[in-house]
Each structure stands twice: as structure tokens, then as C-alpha cells.
């Protein structure tokens, strides 16, 4: 009797639990299909000056709303209710603002949940929410990302188009939205770059930085043209990130191409990225030779500074000795491991000896190796004066300047300078 009663209670509890679970997790079939439409969106040709184009007619939910499984969350319900009524973006924006004021964290959770609704719902709900965000320039970034993310996964061309409008209209630079345009550059480069070109500076930089990771790298000459057009002075870091990517994915080919293409050597960050990649891949000697092969003097300076910095990170005790061994009659200039311990007149002597080396690259490396010890022993001002006294515009002066900037960002040097004040 007791056993049957116990069984009955267990059974009743199991039914109750099952009912509760059913209520909170309504059975929804997961849509396991490629959700990105293959058809290209109707976008203007890349040569056109694209202006931010907020839809003249509000995008409304023209399809018949799909019957959804019951949702218990009141915020989600209110949003879905408005969607079912074919509300305009302005009406949805008003609701979102209201809900945000009521409980911002709850709205964030609701948007997250709604971004995971079945595809037939998202197809119209997400664009409606996205267009509502365009009318809400003060929206929290946290409210933007679930919508941008869901839109991008569902329909990247339309999401990118919306993203361009959103960023241009609101003046914002949300990384999640900018990333939609960057990702779009991987499949529709000219259209994406044309849209990115219309954005305000901060949004443009963010979108280009992401584009550097998605743009096709199969034609290096074409990439050079792209870099020259969209990032001529390196202000967006596009070419720097692009060449860092190339160093990871196609190092040797890119290095050979860069060495044989003088015009490309001046692309901001290109030479340094390839030099860094060579040293990191364990080919320091190759990196030294490659840096010397560059015809552009600024690029050569960047490559030499990077080779020195990166190789010293890996081999702090032997780096300068190893590097100078590549040049005749310099290997005894600085004894093994001594660079870090030089001080006083000894340091000045080494600086003078380094400055007098016949080979310009060897001079540049040798002086670069003395920058940190000089800062630590004689101070920043003395180091700056010594660098200023080098032949103006020379390779060694350029390398010394770049090395100085790197050293100032070095934790060890920064702390030493702090404690000396």
C-alpha cells in the first residue's frame, strides 16, 4: 500500500514536472537550414556615391504572422504583439524605449530570446526590430547586438544594408553592426566597401578593421589597390590588420610579393607585419635578409625595427649578437648579453661605435639594441637627444625612433621611468 502510494506520488510529480517543462520550453523544431539567402540584395553599383538610405516607407511586417508557441515573458509578448499587428518601426522603437525604461536588463534578455525564435518569425521580426533601432539612436549597445547578430546570421546582405543605414543615421559605431559590413566584404567586396565608404569615421574604421579579416586575399595586387584607396595613411589600421592576417595565412608568398613590389612596401604596417610573421615562424635570419631586400627606405626601417623587437622578445640575451652576426665585422661590437647591462661611459662608447658601423642596417640594429639600456641608465631625455643627433632621416634614426616608441610601451621600461620620477 505504501509502495503504491509512493509510486503514485512519484508519477504525479513526474507529470507536474513534465508539464512545467513543456510550458517553459515549448516544442519548437530547430530550423537546420542555410539561412543566408544566396540571392544578392539589390544594391547600387560600387562606383556610385551611396548615401545613407533610410527606407522612405517604413518596413512593415507584410507577411501573415506565424502562430507562435505561447511565450510567458511579458516583454517578449509585448514585442510580438506589436509585430503581429504589423507595427511600423517607429511604433516598435517607442515600445522598446518604454521597455528599456521599465527594466533595461529584462529588455536585453527578451531581445536575446527573440533573436532565437524560429526562422519564419525572425524573417520579419528581426528587420522590424533593426529598423526600430535606427530610430533609437540612444539604444544601449547590449540591445543592438542580439538584433544585429541575428540579422547577420539570417540574411547578411540585407543586414549589411541595414547596418550601413543604422550607422550613418545614428552616427554610432557599434562594433557588432560594423562587423556585418566587414563580413559582407568577404562575399560582396565592392558593394560592402562602397557602403563602408559612406560611414562616419569611427564606424568606417570599425567596419574596415573587420573587413581586413574577411576580404578575399587571392589577388595581392588587387589588395594593394584596395589599401591605397581606403587606407592610404593607415588611419583605420586596415592594411596593418590585413598584412598581419596575410602573415598568418600566406607568409612566404606575401613576403616575396612585397619584396618585388616597391609600390606595396609603403602600405602602412605591411612591412612590419610580414617581418613579425617571419620571426614568429622561427625564421629570423630569413627576416633579416628579407628586410634588407626592401627598396623602400621607410619600409626597410619598419621591418628592421620589427625584426629587432620581435627577435629580442624571443631571445633577449643573444638577440643583438645573433643579428649582427649577419653583417661582416660587427659581431664583436656588443658582447653577448651585455646590452642590458651597459651603463655610463661604456654605453656612450658602444653608441658611438654602433653609429660608426659601415653597413646602414647593422648601424640601425646596433643602435636599436642600445635604446632600452640608454633609457634605463641615462634617461629618456638623453636617449631622445642621442637619437636626434643621428643623421636626420637616416635608416638608423628612423629605426631608433620606432624602437623608442616600442620601448616606452614596454612594461619594464614604463615602470622604470615611473619609479625614476
Amino acid at each position: 500500500m505504501k509502495k503504491s502510494l509512493l509510486l503514485a506520488i512519484v508519477f504525479a510529480l513526474a507529470v507536474l514536472v513534465a508539464l512545467l517543462l513543456f510550458q517553459h520550453h515549448p516544442a519548437q523544431k530547430r530550423v537546420a537550414v542555410d539561412e543566408t539567402p544566396k540571392a544578392k540584395a539589390a544594391l547600387p553599383p560600387p562606383s556610385l556615391d551611396i548615401k545613407p538610405s533610410f527606407p522612405a516607407e517604413p518596413v512593415t511586417n507584410v507577411q501573415s504572422p506565424v502562430a507562435l508557441a505561447p511565450v510567458t515573458d511579458p516583454f517578449q509578448n509585448q514585442i510580438l504583439e506589436l509585430w503581429r499587428k504589423h507595427a511600423s518601426p517607429a511604433e516598435m522603437a517607442a515600445l522598446l524605449k518604454e521597455l528599456h525604461q521599465e527594466d533595461s536588463k529584462h529588455l536585453f534578455q527578451a531581445l536575446l530570446a527573440l533573436s532565437k525564435t524560429p526562422l519564419e518569425t525572425r524573417r520579419t521580426l528581426v528587420p522590424l526590430l533593426a529598423n526600430a533601432l535606427t530610430l533609437w539612436p540612444d539604444a544601449d549597445g547590449g540591445d543592438v547586438f542580439p538584433i544585429a547578430d541575428a540579422y547577420g546570421q539570417m540574411d547578411l546582405p540585407s543586414a549589411a544594408q541595414w547596418g550601413a543605414t543604422f550607422l550613418a543615421t545614428t552616427g554610432r559605431h557599434d562594433l557588432n553592426v560594423a562587423a556585418l559590413l566587414g563580413e559582407y566584404a568577404g562575399t560582396s567586396e565592392s558593394q560592402a566597401l562602397a557602403m563602408i565608404a559612406t560611414l562616419p569615421d569611427a564606424a568606417r574604421a570599425a567596419a574596415l578593421q573587420d573587413a581586413a579579416y574577411h576580404i578575399s586575399t587571392s589577388d595581392l595586387n588587387h589588395l594593394m589597390d584596395v589599401c591605397e584607396q581606403i587606407d592610404p595613411n593607415g588611419s583605420t589600421a586596415f592594411s596593418q590588420l590585413l598584412f598581419q592576417r596575410l602573415a598568418m595565412e600566406n607568409l612566404n608568398n606575401t613576403a616575396a610579393w612585397l619584396a618585388g613590389t616597391p609600390q606595396a612596401q609603403s602600405l602602412p604596417g605591411a612591412a612590419a607585419a610580414i617581418a613579425q610573421g617571419m620571426v614568429l615562424s622561427g625564421n629570423a635570419q630569413q627576416a633579416i635578409t628579407w628586410a634588407d631586400s626592401l627598396s623602400d627606405q621607410n619600409a626597410k626601417g619598419q621591418a628592421i625595427a620589427e625584426v629587432y623587437q620581435q627577435y629580442t622578445t624571443s631571445n633577449p640575451h643573444t638577440s643583438i649578437q645573433d643579428i649582427l652576426a649577419a653583417y661582416p665585422a660587427t659581431s664583436e661590437l656588443i658582447p653577448n648579453g651585455a646590452a642590458a647591462n651597459l651603463s655610463g661611459s661604456g654605453l656612450t662608447g658602444y653608441w658611438d661605435a654602433a653609429s660608426g658601423l659601415p653597413d646602414p642596417s647593422a648601424r640601425a640594429y646596433a643602435i636599436a639594441a642600445l635604446v632600452q639600456p640608454n633609457i634605463l641608465t641615462s634617461g629618456l631625455a638623453d636617449t631622445q637627444n642621442k637619437i636626434a643627433a643621428l643623421p636626420p632621416g637616416s635608416l638608423e634614426q628612423n629605426v631608433a625612433q620606432m624602437t623608442l616608441q616600442s620601448e616606452l610601451a614596454n612594461k619594464e621600461v614604463a615602470l622604470a621611468l615611473q619609479s625614476s620620477h
Binding site: 549597445g141 562594433l175 557588432n176 570599425a206 620581435q310 624571443s314
Partner: protein, 311 residues
């Protein structure tokens, strides 16, 4: 009953937890964790696949478990989490967790010369994104900002209290707040009672003090912890591994780096605090413990042995 159980799980813990059991390593970007774009741990590339990221995570897990570790600290930043690469990050993080490890997600800033959050809104959105995936995952720790040296103590307290904690749902027992400066002292953040539910992250390096005995380094660590050992974990410490002349098992060496590893390691054991080495994997770094992320080969046997005997 169900509701009561749910409430128990969701309720924030009142007190920070002691993380004495943490033994880990940093898995860092070979270029640098300070990055304008995506931060990509060593051994991965910008064109990584989910399967490739999972396989690399399995190798990392195998390496660290072999030496008795249980945590991997990985870098994140707003551009990475906002991009398609976030899928890859989740792939290797989830795989590390699946392999039985704890993961500390730490945010790096864009440049190493500033020491403050680059863009507050982007930083908050990043943490909201991370939290939407990992808030309930007990194996994941959050470290809101690495080495926040650009903030005064009160500004850093405010960043944590007003800009970070309100936007995440994570249990405070899984939040590691870097100390002030280069995360080099804990007292400033440890003394703030409004942050007392969180754990504290300390960094210490041999070039910060010119000590050459283990006792001096033990004292130095103690001073930097400032009495907050019950909440402290070292999330960065390390020394030269590539110098063939350094034998980290030499007693009374008089060498700054050897005595640093021995002293900090011993004091970590004495105080019963966690320790995460910098870097365990970072191709080309002169402090790295593993040669690369491919085969589990150690750079310096004596350093690995000394370190793992103390944790």
C-alpha cells in the same frame, strides 16, 4: 520546490571564494594580446575553423593537464567578440571546458600604453555578449580588464562597481578583478566593501624589483597581496625560460629570475592562492613554458619542474 531550487542557483553569493586550487597558464596571441583587431591565441589563425579551434583546444588541454594544471586564461577584446570570430572563440573555450578545464576570459585593451577601457560602450556590449553565453557556466571566469594602470583607485572601483557588475549576471565568485596599476597591488580594490564578493587578480614579474633571494620575493608577494590572500589569484607571473643558463632548481642562486620563481611559487603555496603562469603558450616568447601549441614539448625542464612542484 522547482522555483526554490532555481532561486538558489540564481542568487548571487555573498562572499568571494578562495581559489587556492587554481593552477593554470596563459594562452596568448603570439603578436600580443594588445590588439586593434581580433586577438588570436597562438597556434590559431584568423581563418580558423570550428573543428580546428576545437582540436587546438584539445592539444592545449592535454598539455596543461599533463603538468597538473586546471585553468587556461585566454584573451578577448571587443572587436573579437563583436565579429564572426566569436564563434571560434566559443569553440575553443567550450572545448577546454569540455576537457574538464576552467577558463578565465580576460579583456585586453587595444594599446599597451593607455591602461583604460578604449570605448566603454563597446566594452560593456562585449561583456553583455559574453555573459549571454557564459553567465551560468561555473567553469568560466571573467576578468573585466587586464592591467588597468590608467585608472586611479577610485576610478577603477567605479569601473568595476558601476560599469561592469550591473551588466553581467555572473556569480561574483567567478569574477576576478585586477588590482590597481599593472594589477600589481590588491589593497586598493580589496578594501572596497562593495566589491567584496569578487575575487582579486594579481600580477608579479621579476623585473619589478631587483631582488635576488627567495625570501625577498616572498615578502614582495605578500606586500602586493596586502592581506587579501583569501580572495587572491595570481593571473600572471613568469620568468625567462629560453635562457639555457638558468636552472630554476638551483638553491640560493643569487639570480633574480630563479629566486623569483622559487620565492613567488613558495609563497603562493604558503598563502594558498591560485597561480596562472604567463605565458604557457605564446610562440616566440622568452617566458613561454611550451615550445608551441603543437606537441607539448617544454622549453625549460627546470622551470616547469620547479613551478609545478610548488603549485
Amino acid at each position: 520546490m522547482l522555483i526554490a531550487a532555481g532561486a538558489l542557483v540564481a542568487a548571487p553569493f555573498a562572499n568571494a571564494t578562495n581559489l587556492w586550487w587554481v593552477k593554470g597558464g596563459n594562452w596568448a596571441d603570439s603578436r600580443d594580446n594588445y590588439n586593434t583587431g581580433w586577438v588570436i591565441p597562438s597556434g590559431l589563425t584568423s581563418s580558423e575553423t570550428v573543428a580546428g579551434a576545437q582540436a587546438k583546444a584539445d592539444q592545449i588541454a592535454s598539455n596543461i593537464k599533463y603538468v597538473g594544471g586546471n585553468m587556461v586564461r585566454v584573451p578577448i577584446n571587443p572587436p573579437t567578440v563583436a565579429s564572426s570570430y566569436w564563434t571560434i572563440v566559443q569553440a575553443y573555450v567550450n572545448e577546454l571546458v569540455k576537457d574538464g578545464l576552467y577558463v578565465d576570459l580576460c579583456c585586453w585593451t587595444e594599446k599597451n600604453t593607455v591602461g583604460t577601457v578604449d570605448d566603454l560602450s563597446a566594452w560593456q556590449t562585449m561583456w553583455e555578449t559574453v555573459d549571454s553565453v557564459y553567465s551560468g557556466n561555473w567553469n568560466i571566469f571573467y576578468e573585466p580588464i587586464n592591467e588597468p594602470f590608467g585608472y586611479s583607485t577610485t576610478a577603477l572601483q567605479s569601473l568595476y562597481l558601476n560599469d561592469f557588475l550591473p551588466i553581467v549576471s555572473k556569480s561574483q565568485q567567478r569574477i576576478l578583478l585586477d588590482g590597481t596599476g599593472y594589477a600589481d597591488h590588491l589593497a586598493g580594490i580589496g578594501s572596497d566593501s562593495s566589491l567584496s564578493g569578487c575575487d582579486l587578480a594579481l600580477h608579479i614579474y621579476p623585473y619589478w624589483d631587483n631582488y635576488t633571494s627567495t625570501g625577498q620575493w616572498e615578502t614582495a608577494l605578500n606586500n602586493r597581496i596586502g592581506g587579501y590572500q583569501n580572495r587572491a589569484t595570481i593571473t600572471e607571473m613568469g620568468a625567462y625560460s629560453t635562457n639555457p643558463y638558468y636552472n630554476y632548481q638551483t638553491q640560493n642562486s643569487g639570480n633574480r629570475y630563479i629566486s623569483f620563481i622559487q620565492g613567488v611559487g613558495q609563497e603562493t603555496k604558503n598563502l594558498q592562492i591560485g597561480l596562472v603562469y604567463w605565458p604557457m603558450w605564446k610562440d616566440g616568447d622568452s617566458y613561454r613554458l611550451f615550445v608551441n601549441t603543437d606537441n607539448g614539448q617544454w622549453v625549460n625542464w627546470s622551470l616547469m619542474t620547479e613551478l609545478t612542484s610548488l603549485w
